[in-house]
């Protein structure tokens, strides 16, 4: 047990907790995409970057320690987060206008939270493949943000190790661990954890699109800070109970 401050507010923490876990349990939202408290931290999206005693760190991987002075909700950090979010938008093909994940998408919700209006960068328009071979699951690589939540879920929870990120830099792409490279013969099932953890619309259960009307979707009425804290605080608390 100990105490840190985030933006001047005293926040208690349990031994072994990361900064984002302590913040979440205390009701302080730190924007994030690749972090999900159900899985081992990954530290790749950098959206949760905070300043700890003047140094920039990833809150999802950095351990909380007594007396740390953490800056989170500052103009400088939010501007950096906005820029990172814009990079994610231009790096893939994110057509919110008709995307079935719209209103339920964490990337879109973070964009709104950070008051992003549009990307300042040119779109890459990468060529990415849709894998619709599986009867019940759609893999749309256009929307992948390389958070590796599906990789972690398939490996650590489902025990199937079906996904990986291949390539480097702008040639990054999500690959499927099967003989054909397609989802059809991967052995993935709709009940797999990996089928339900994608924060964007890259992995979707087929034939469910638009069933939830506008107004009732996850982020129609509530911001991602509210949704995230209410969903993740109990998960964090359960770890030390």
């Amino acid at each position: 047990m100990g105490t840190i401050t985030i933006d001047g507010q005293a926040i208690p923490f349990q031994d072994g907790q990361t900064l984002i876990e302590a913040a979440t349990e205390a009701g302080v939202y730190i924007p994030h995409l690749c972090h999900n408290p159900e899985f081992k931290p990954h530290g790749s999206c950098k959206l949760c970057s905070v300043k700890v005693n003047g140094r920039v760190c990833s809150a999802c991987t950095f351990p909380a320690a007594e007396g740390q002075e953490v800056l989170n909700d500052t103009d400088e950090l939010n501007e950096a987060r906005r820029m990172i979010t814009e990079m994610l938008f231009v790096e893939g093909n994110h057509f919110c206008a008709y995307c079935e994940k719209s209103g339920d998408c964490q990337l879109q919700a973070v964009g709104y939270f950070l008051k992003m209006t549009g990307p300042r960068f040119s779109y890459f328009y990468p060529r990415r493949e849709v894998d619709a071979s599986h009867r019940d699951i759609l893999l749309d690589r256009d929307r992948c943000i390389f958070c590796e939540l599906c990789v972690r879920a398939s490996r650590d929870v489902d025990g199937k190790n079906l996904f990986a990120i291949a390539g480097r830099g702008i040639r990054n792409h999500l690959i499927v661990n099967s003989a054909s490279g397609e989802l059809e013969d991967s052995g993935m099932a709709v009940t797999d954890k990996a089928a339900h953890v994608c924060p964007v619309g890259a992995i979707l259960i087929k034939r469910q699109a638009y069933k939830v009307p506008i107004g009732s979707r996850t982020y129609d009425e509530r911001s991602i800070s509210e949704v995230s804290l209410s969903a993740e605080a109990p998960v964090v608390a359960a770890k030390h109970d």
Binding site: Y98, A132, A209, Y210, V212, P213, I214, S216
Partner: protein, 494 residues
């Protein structure tokens, strides 16, 4: 007919005048005129210069995205594309008949769409020409001018449109580009509160729609001979029709009548449209030219939209609109009404029918029903056809075993009116422009003829009001003889 004006001989010897862009229409198009040294018209074309490519880039996407994806074709009539695609994907999941509540919700949504689109076109885009005159001051010939001089009429138009959009918002969650149609039904029931909210202004909307019919009737009949002959062409007409011959917007068989009102085909299952309609591609336009197969490539063009629907139907099932239809059809002397400007009159009769139809549906108990989706066995081909505000709209898709779209063909309403618009502006060019020095008012007559069709030229961009215009009159040697500009304030200068 003026088909000879499509392709001029020796065009390199002719002067070219362009109206670019055509203003107060949806989308971007231009008109070119080729004139000889005596200002005689030798060639007239309406060009569609935008390329959209929707038919191509929806290939490779899963079929359930179609209603939400293709509605992005347009910001004015997205609901029409949404519902046409919705009907097509019903077939893809093997559903022939929706639940009563789902079908009535779709019909209500569609009536809201038609009402707002018709109000937008008549009051915002067309009424400045009709109220002020084709030669009136260009700077005031817009909706702002209407609101200044005829505030009551202008405001009525704004409110009618708003009401239609509120119907759309109640059902799809947004006034523009919401979601509603899903495979086999709808995704949300109408709540009692939403229904009661829509009932509040309904009687006003009905009255405004009646007044709009009276207004266009009065304007048209104030100078009947001129209005009758302006841009006059004779044509066949195509549209959906109910089994009993009633006016139909959402679902029915295909009916086509020739220029004398004789049936060419009737109550055709629209899934067989390919046997009756073909499309021709011309090198000078991105818009295709559909034609009725039995009449052939040259003579098979036809008109769709309000004028076609009112001419084609045997009656309208709501009393006020039916009385207005009977009065209107007297203009045809026992046959179809061919006058191009009669489109406006027919459009307002339809708006009145929409208001009456909305009232009927809002009082129907099924409209609050919660049984909204049925399921069936998947197929690989789906064809959805609907009467959009601008006319018959075809969506045709094929998918593979993985649920991915492999083929798409869309015949958008304005496409069907392509040849008719070209014929109308050729008639105007010959009657009013031939041999004369061009003025803004004369050129506006070309645009007035196009506007009567309420074309959605690209189904995407929306041009409104004082669009800048630049006209050069160039002789056969490339020398600029005359020059006409209109700036963004609507002022013209030589």
């Amino acid at each position: 007919m003026n088909e000879s004006l499509e392709i001029a001989r020796n065009p390199e010897r002719l002067r070219r005048v362009a109206i670019d862009p055509v203003s107060r229409v949806e989308g971007h198009g231009k008109v070119t005129l080729l004139l000889d040294e005596h200002n005689h018209i030798r060639q007239v074309r309406l060009h569609i210069v935008e390329f959209r490519g929707f038919e191509r880039f929806i290939q490779g996407r899963p079929y359930w995205e179609l209603p939400v994806l293709v509605q992005r074709l347009c910001g004015i009539c997205p609901v029409s594309h949404h519902l046409a695609a919705g009907k097509a994907i019903d077939q893809l999941v093997g559903v022939d008949r929706l639940t009563p509540s789902a079908e009535k919700l779709r019909r209500l949504l569609h009536l809201g769409q038609l009402l707002q689109s018709h109000a937008l076109h008549f009051f915002h885009l067309a009424s400045p020409d009709l109220l002020f005159g084709f030669d009136s001051e260009a700077g005031k010939r817009n909706i702002v001018g209407v609101l200044e001089k005829y505030p009551e009429i202008g405001l009525k138009g704004v409110k009618m449109r708003k009401y239609g959009q509120e119907v759309i918002r109640a059902i799809t969650g947004k006034r523009v580009h919401g979601s509603g149609a899903i495979p086999g039904g709808m995704n949300k029931a109408l709540t009692k509160e939403e229904r009661d909210g829509l009932l509040i202004d309904l009687e006003d909307v009905l009255r405004w729609a009646e007044e709009a019919v009276a207004l266009i009737r009065q304007v048209y009949l104030a100078n009947p001979d001129y209005h009758h002959h302006f841009a006059f062409i004779r044509s066949s007409f195509l549209g959906l029709i109910q089994d009993d011959g009633a006016l139909e917007f959402y679902h029915g068989g295909l009916r086509a009548k020739d220029e004398f009102g004789r049936p060419l085909f009737d109550h055709i299952d629209y899934r067989e449209y390919g046997d009756y309609l073909h499309e021709e591609v011309k090198s000078w336009s991105y818009m295709k030219f559909p034609f009725i197969v039995s009449l052939g490539r040259e003579n098979g063009w036809y008109r769709v939209g309000p004028l076609a629907r009112i001419n084609n139907c045997d009656f309208i099932a709501t009393p006020l609109a039916e009385a207005a239809r009977q009065d209107f059809m007297a203009q045809g002397d026992g046959g179809p009404v061919h006058s191009t400007l009669a489109f406006h009159w027919a459009r307002m009769i339809e708006a009145l029918h929409c208001a009456e139809g909305i009232k009927e549906l809002l009082h129907d108990p099924d409209i609050l029903g919660r049984d909204l989706v049925v399921q069936g066995e998947k197929t690989t081909e789906g064809i959805g056809v609907i009467e959009a505000p601008r006319g018959t709209l075809f969506h045709h898709y094929r998918i593979n075993e993985e649920d991915i779209v492999t083929e798409a063909n869309l015949i958008v309403s304005t496409t069907s009116n392509n040849q008719a618009m070209n014929e109308s502006i050729r008639q105007v060019a010959m009657r009013y422009l031939d041999g004369r020095e061009l003025t803004e008012g004369l050129l506006n007559r070309i645009e007035v003829a196009i506007r009567a069709y309420d074309p959605c030229l690209s189904c995407a961009t929306h041009a409104l009001g004082k669009m800048p215009l630049w006209l050069d009159l160039v002789d056969a040697d490339g020398i600029v003889l005359d020059h006409l500009t209109r700036n963004s304030d609507g002022e013209t200068a030589h």
